[in-house]
Amino acid sequence: MKKITAAGLNLHYGTFHALIDVSLGIEPNKITAMIGPSGCGKSTLLRVFNRMNDAIEGVRVAGNVELDGENILAYRDDEAIDILRRKVGMVFQRPNPFPLSVFENVAFGMRIHKLARGRELEDRVAESLKAVLLWDALKDKLKRSALSLTLEQRQRLCIARLIAVTPDVILLDEPCSSLDPVATLKIEELMLELKKRYTIIIVTHNMAQAARVSDETGFMLLGRLVEFGETSRIFTAPQAKETEEYITGRYG
């Protein structure tokens, strides 16, 4: 059973048709990469899955997007959307920890959602930091400001903050675009570790990254999903001409 399926998904920003008839299925516990040139709609698609486009004025979405068999586009009240966002978490392009301590960053969601307190909260903060492989480096520096960390550590911290609220799906919106190559590799290792427990969708500019980490890849162009399939096949035997041109670096 697919974790997420989209069928006949169309999205307009005002008069701009940003997603055109997108249909796909996301496998659970796999990494799905969305690639394509800037403005192709891959980030917009990602933000459909946690309804983050709702905040933008003038956005209209039509079609069917199901998470575990439930149409998330049908959610009307804010509470249902808040619950959806706890299930489908997001990591952003720029590491964006709050100007709080390391501990308070990870504890943020758990405190607000009243998931844990006291001893249990401390344990779960530790667990989340272990999951993103930050615990050994930071266990004695939990009271330090998160803004004193390196960019890579900050991005890890943001992932820890997210998994602390126990999502099912993690959306990564070009998570490595502000990191250097070494840090990028480390985050990729982390993704491979995380996919054992979470379904991961990553939007990336970096084709090598998609080839390295993902199990399945979708190529988007001008709002359309041109091709979708197993990563090894997409990169070795693309069926569409546009895909081939893009991955061989002829444009984008």
Partner: protein, 281 residues
């Protein structure tokens, strides 16, 4: 003329103009300190006036001003911050919000004496509050509302959008995002604006003229419905209505008022420095 010479002349002119701004501040301080500095004794600051205000202290005016100003800010700050939250975080750009924005701009342009008359009509007479601390404070609070709303909105919109985005993406509702993420990071800006407002309304005369201020009161205020003396009004009276007023006391009163306002501004500046050092985004 060579362009470098032109540049030098232009800079010199700009510098001179900037100094013109600086000059009045300094000269006001120098004159006030020279003429009234000697009057600033503990007795002057902490005792009641005597001999028809020609000697003794100005304690009731100081207390009256502080009381009015604190009450005014206590009313205007919550209202202004809530309005700012609505306008900045919730409101869409529609007819209603445009009307509200227009109202704020216009409210800021109303002359203060008009606020005084408005306060007299509404609070003193219609709502029957009488000439009192509370009527004066309410009048000032309405006058200060536009500035509180504007500074609070600026403080809110200076909180990075990414903070809101992350919080929402973690399934935190909009209200809780505002409450737990946006507001804490906007508090420094809001507080600074509030203190500066405090400083500004401390010196206002016209709005309290008909609503709160008394020519002379023999005792300190006991409740918010008492009439009080206030520094700016007291200054006006002793400089125009009382014959043979020792000028030292007049200048001393002016200096006290200026120092009070200056201390408030200083507090705002210090607060801003402290908060700025803490935030690093």
């Amino acid at each position: 003329m060579k362009s470098r010479t032109a540049q030098r002349i232009a800079f010199a002119v700009l510098l001179a103009v900037s100094c013109v701004v600086f000059l009045p501040v300094v000269s006001i301080f120098v004159i006030l300190v020279k003429e009234g500095g000697g009057a600033l004794t503990p007795e002057f600051l902490f005792t009641m006036p005597s001999e028809g205000m020609r000697s003794g202290g100005i304690l009731p005016a100081i207390i009256g001003t502080l009381l009015i100003v604190v009450c005014a800010i206590a009313v205007t700050l919550p209202v202004g911050v809530l309005a700012a939250i609505y306008l900045n975080e919730y409101a869409k750009d529609n007819l209603l919000t445009r009307v509200i924005r227009l109202a704020i701009v216009n409210l800021a342009g109303v002359p203060s004496v008009v606020f005084g008359l408005f306060g007299l009509a509404l609070f003193v007479m219609m709502l029957n509050l009488g000439v009192s601390v509370i009527a004066g404070a309410l009048t000032l609070s309405i006058m200060e509302l536009p500035s509180i709303i504007t500074t609070s909105r600026n403080a809110l919109s200076s909180v990075p959008a990414s903070f809101r985005e992350v919080s929402l993406s973690l399934g935190v509702s909009r209200w809780r995002t505002i409450r737990h993420v946006v507001l804490p990071n906007a508090v420094p800006g809001i507080l600074t604006g509030a203190i500066l407002s405090l400083a500004r309304i401390a010196g206002e005369t016209a709005p309290i003229l008909f609503t709160a201020a008394a020519f002379y009161v023999t005792r300190l205020p006991h409740s918010l419905s008492d009439q009080v003396m206030a520094l700016p009004y007291h200054l006006y009276i002793i400089s125009t209505q009382i014959p043979n007023m020792p000028s030292k006391l007049t200048y001393g009163t002016a200096l006290t008022l200026v120092l009070l306002v200056f201390l408030m501004s200083l507090a705002a500046i210090i607060l801003r420095i402290i908060f700025r050092r803490r935030k690093k985004w």
